[in-house]
Amino acid sequence: MTVINISALINRYIENINKDLKKRWNIWEKDLADKEIYDVIGGIISRQTALTIQFVKSPSIWNGEIAPIFLRSMADNYINLAWILISPKERSKEFILHGLGQMKLNLEHRRNQIESEGKDANKDKLIEFEEEFINSQRYTFLTEVNLGSWSGKSMRAMALEANCIDFYNYVYQPFSSCVHSTWGHISRYNVIVSDNPLHRFMYKPNIIEFEPDIFYLELAAKYLAKSISAFDNKFKIKIEEDSSDQLLQKELDNIIAENE
């Protein structure tokens, strides 16, 4: 087996996607009257970029056991983005309000936990900080807590509306089994059938030592590119250079060709 060093390639890719984010944020025409649009959509693209960076820096998780945890998060993020882009003003606000409500809920749980331990929650620095953070955006006493989904719809319904139902069916759904550690995932990655006939095909625990699989790097790059493309299309951003994803693919193709 040939060992290929791709750390330089990864570093270049990270540099490129950082530039992509900065370029787009900087040239994006903004209207402060609709501040939430820029807060949220900029935030989602930033999140997608951050997820990609952390993922590509960690070849040890480029395998079927762990990669889908990241990739499904990216898929989730993409569907959110695609749905918000249909009606950015209204939906960005909903996204923020729901998020603040979730934070308020977590805060109350934390307060409860501290008080159940017999301590004074008012003296807890973390609670103080969290509350100030929420209040900096909206006072907690004026914030609703919505226990349902942030959009009021299922992820599937959002994907249908945003015209990415195939992405939901072929990416989001399959990767969910890894995220939730269902039997569908565990039976493939975490157990092995005993070959002793006395054991009646019992599944026993098994830890696999994975080699990094470039396929997962390519997927992460693809999902980021998909998000960037959705953003560019919506806001009519035109950037003439090759995308970071295209540059990455060219470099990978060259490396593979050189080593065949």
């Binding site: 006395l198 009646r200 095909f201 019992m202 026993k204």
Partner: protein, 234 residues
């Protein structure tokens, strides 16, 4: 994009396949439940060959049935859990009288030796098991796990033969099962494959409640003994 599961029935969040809507089904496992009941037949066939193993198996089943006087056919091991020791002792005597006790005992000895609580130990005698008994059972299990293997097919075929010979099985004239003796050619002829297919389908009924009364203690003992002998470690 095509719709998926169009043939399934949706109730709430559950999609039910067409077959399951036809009635009340219970899961049954050939491996989990049938193998512990029928492994004695496989061991007879292995040791004595198909013809002699079948012949002896039938004689044994006939003798036990005559002594217990029941309508049931004692082809499955759990049967012997519920028979009185008095009747089983009579069966032992008759088997010796017929001169088939020792040959059957010796043929199924790996089973008797390894599984001390096997109900057949109430008829036959066993010794302390050896590694060769363990290896024998393991190799028999490997062959029986595949329901389409020759060994599994002949074992199930024997059950059908016992039922037919003792009047418990009525076959439609012209049906593949009425040519049961041709099973011996399995899997080299189309007819033998058809017969085998019919046998496999019938076995789901014949080796389950209410046709037989499984002894859960025996079935658990069978599987857990293997585990104790050779634990599943990592």
């Amino acid at each position: 994009m095509g719709k998926i599961f169009e043939d399934h029935t949706k109730k709430g969040k559950v999609l039910t396949p067409p077959l399951l809507t036809l009635g009340n089904f219970q899961d049954s496992s050939y491996i989990e439940n049938a193998i512990p009941e029928l492994i004695w037949i496989s061991l007879l066939n292995e040791k004595l060959g198909l013809w002699f193993g079948t012949e002896l198996g039938l004689q044994f089943v006939k003798i036990v049935r005559e002594i217990t006087g029941t309508e049931e056919i004692p082809f499955y091991i759990s049967y012997f859990s519920k028979v009185s020791q008095d009747n089983l002792s009579k069966a032992t005597i008759e088997l010796k009288k017929q001169g088939i006790y020792d040959v059957i005992n010796s043929s199924i000895s790996p089973l008797l030796n390894l599984y001390r609580l096997c109900p057949l130990n109430r008829v036959f005698i066993s010794e302390k098991h050896s590694q060769s008994d363990v290896d024998h059972i393991k190799s028999t299990l490997i062959r029986l796990y595949d329901k389409r293997s020759r060994e599994a097919t002949f074992t199930l075929g024997n059950v059908m033969f016992f039922l037919g010979a003792l009047g418990k099985l009525k076959l439609v004239k012209g049906s593949p099962l009425s040519e049961l003796p041709k099973l011996v050619d399995y899997p080299n002829t189309e007819l033998s494959k058809l017969i085998a297919s019919g046998i496999r389908a019938s076995s789901n009924v014949i080796i389950n409640k209410p046709f037989i009364e499984p002894d859960e203690k025996w079935i658990n003992h069978f599987w857990n003994t293997g585990f104790q002998l050779e634990p599943c470690k990592i």
